[in-house]
Symmetry: C2
Subunit: 201 residues, 2 copies
């Protein structure tokens, strides 16, 4: 329920206006303050609404970020589901899922726009680093039983960002043409080793 005490039937016109105002305020504040320092309270203030209404619409700061940036999926839903069966086979599951999402989104992949922003603008890079850190990397690190769990999660991220860059943006021809099974067989063991293997020099 919206944070209003007046009785209502159906959706009021004001609701979508408030929702849009919150999303606009979120985009502005995330991109200037970063993900970590942008508070729900400040975003609500910018939008002229009560913080409870933000939580009502979006559930959490991560959910608000996902909606504001038009992420194709919500890591707070997806990552726990991928982690649930345990770390055995997690490398192949992560890579297979990522490739499936990329293939389904095709040219309309909004992640490509986010990579472009992060590469061009330090503020956007910080915002992505902080969001990816909380929404994905900290969750993966918490599931890893080995030494240096957060470094391991970041090693995985470096290979996954590299797949997106090399296959979707640079469009290296054999990577672009390879079928998903070939790529899962190539990248799965890399991710698995970063998660559970020895990293000793």
């Amino acid at each position: 329920m919206p944070a209003t005490e007046s009785p209502r039937r159906g959706r009021r016109p004001g609701d979508s206006g408030a929702r849009d105002a919150i999303l606009g305020a979120a985009r502005a504040r995330f991109s200037t303050a970063g993900f970590r320092d942008a508070t729900v309270r400040a975003i609500a203030g910018d939008a002229g609404v009560d913080p409870a209404l933000v939580m009502h619409y979006f559930g959490s700061k991560q959910g608000l970020f996902v909606a504001a940036m038009e992420f194709p999926l919500d890591p707070s839903q997806v990552v726990p589901r991928l982690l649930a069966p345990g770390v055995d086979g997690l490398g192949e599951r992560l890579v297979g899922f990522l490739l499936q999402v990329i293939d389904e989104l095709g040219e309309a992949n909004p992640m490509l726009g986010l990579v472009r922003s992060a590469v061009g603008h330090p503020d956007a890079a910080r915002m992505m680093r902080e969001f990816l850190g909380e929404a994905i990397l900290d969750r993966i690190a918490a599931a890893v039983q080995a030494d240096r769990p957060r470094l391991r999660a970041e090693l995985c991220a470096s290979q996954i960002v590299g797949v997106i860059m090399a296959r979707q943006i640079l469009a290296l021809p054999e990577l672009a043409a390879a079928d998903r099974a070939t790529l899962v067989a190539a990248y799965g063991p890399t991710i698995q080793r970063y998660l559970t293997g020895s990293l000793a020099p």
Copy 2:
């Protein structure tokens, strides 16, 4: 010697003008036509000089590209040197060399500007893909003794581009703080497997 038959002592003022004209013409033509379709003859024509003068100054189209884009190093020199001892230990050699170059260049790394261009502009992405393909990936593929050598070279590229993205541009904190030995131990076996390991599903 420049492509001139007049006797000369020292450097003539005209030399640096012609050299700069060639570099300007090369930048313009590489970025519109791509690396593959931009011919030395066409660039020389744009600059109003003889193609032989271009070869005199820069040795090859790859050398011209390296000079025009202000690459910190010339892959036609560096890659054969890294490949010379053979594929044993090549993964660690490649990663160690890359990290050393990144550390030495620091903030002034012109590769970061090239990654930014490639991410933002399809023409720049094509130019990079074609240059990296001929100057680096084809050379690595030619040294690989296993099946699908070019795919293997592209897998390596995807991890190396990912290291640059994650460590230098996103600045993921544990990757950014890790010492070189830790990163060589993490990434060396990945690159080595892409070059010489089994990729079978």
